[in-house]
Symmetry: C2
Subunit: 235 residues, 2 copies
DNA sequence: GTCTGTGAAAATCTTCACAGCC
DNA sequence: GGCTGTGAAGATTTTCACAGAC
């Protein structure tokens, strides 16, 4: 994970339904599976851009360092996408994965905390390439209000609720200092935000209907450091 | 995972040695364990700053959303740090964990790719708070060379090897565009860098003695999006 | 009584291996 | 021949539960 520190539910319901999964919510999916789905989708886009019409689980897995069985099992959580003897049709599979992830439509995102990291993310192309659009930025510092960064206007935190409602924003990126993170996260929840990508190195406590993933950059570097100091190998 | 996409070895050796782990490299440690070690260490620092001398596995776990048994098992990989009937002595445990992670001494870090994200990380206090110091930044763009950002001088990529050797830098942060990431990662490896924290949304291929962790920000946001669209709950 | 450290059990995740389709 | 989808086997990770230390 990245390592990242995430907390998202797995409910334990056993899915003994063997009808074909038509749509929507499979009972319980390991988060590692969802993470790999994102990887697959990215690699598939690359394959498409090089003109490959189809790909086998074996090849896709090799490109990403994952076993062929793993690729097939991961996809099987959501239905049957492959064609025996042929493999997976790249554009079709991309479309299916985007639908699963919810990135088949453009997702509007609010960013809160226009410091160093926040500014960087406002200018980061990698997010919109995957279907996210940061449409509003917020900060408590009056000096920053009114400016635009990368075309995104910076507004005061007090406007949060109104803007979220008006623009029907469901996702937020939280890039405020650790000390303020808990308070601001509360305000996000109260504003109707449903999912938060948190960069503060702190455990958020949120109502159960608000999902979040925390990315702690120092922890990631510590992982690398541990591996180096303990002379591990990257296979 | 954060989802992050990491690839670090687990070797499968069975550790049937029941002498006390005196030091150094435990045979094989799940990366999730190492990741939690970082969490523990952060929370312990907070406890120390509020004046708590000791903490039980139960309390530490509660603060972080982890079971008490998990805390104990994680620490048991590296030795015996606790005191029955009392718990763990916070300062002692912090010191032990830092030693395990390799952050007991200041680690010099090189940053390559002074774009939006790179600049943000140069100004990010969270890294040095955990014992990392970015001492050199590199870019291929001549226009950026010579300036300093947050006190870190920007040098040309061609200087990489010399600077890494002169300053004995072992860790690097890679914040170049995806298209250049593979090539630059090669140069890092050849310069003697031993660990890379990679932000390019691409799978690095590196010699086995160079460890790396990839943080893909778009993937993290996709995880949140999936959870929201599929109405999961955060317990 | 409190708390750790740890085998044993449970749950989860990954790989194997093969039936069935192209 | 090549390939997917999947039950069964295997491996790993987490939780349970308790002996032993304070």
């Amino acid at each position: 994970m990245p390592f990242a520190n995430e907390r998202m539910s797995d409910d334990l319901k056993q899915d003994d339904d063997d009808r074909e999964r038509v749509e929507g919510a499979p009972e319980s999916v390991p988060k590692a599976v969802v993470s790999r789905l994102s990887l697959y989708q990215r690699e598939l886009q690359r394959l498409i851009s090089t003109g490959e019409p189809t790909v086998s689980s074996n090849r896709l897995g090799q490109l990403l360092g994952v076993s062929d069985a793993q690729v097939r099992k991961d996809l099987a959580y959501f239905g049957q996408f492959g064609h025996p003897g042929i493999g997976y049709h790249c554009p079709e599979l991309v479309a299916r994965i985007r639908k699963i992830l919810g990135t088949d439509q453009e997702r509007r995102v609010a960013l809160v905390g226009v410091g160093n990291l926040g500014r960087a993310l406002l200018g980061y192309k990698g997010l919109e390439k995957q279907g996210f659009r940061v449409v509003a930025a917020f900060d408590a510092d009056r000096a920053k209000i009114g400016k635009s960064i990368s075309g995104v206007p910076i507004q005061h935190l007090d406007e949060l609720s109104d803007v979220v409602a008006a623009q029907q924003i469901r996702l937020a990126i939280l890039t405020v200092p650790a000390e303020e993170a808990l308070g601001v996260a509360d305000r996000l929840a109260q504003s109707g935000i449903e999912g938060i990508l948190n960069f503060a190195p702190i455990r958020l406590q949120l109502p159960p209907h608000v999902n979040h993933v925390t990315v702690d950059l120092a922890i990631q570097l510590e992982q690398v450091c541990f591996a180096v100091v303990n002379r591990e190998a990257t296979p």
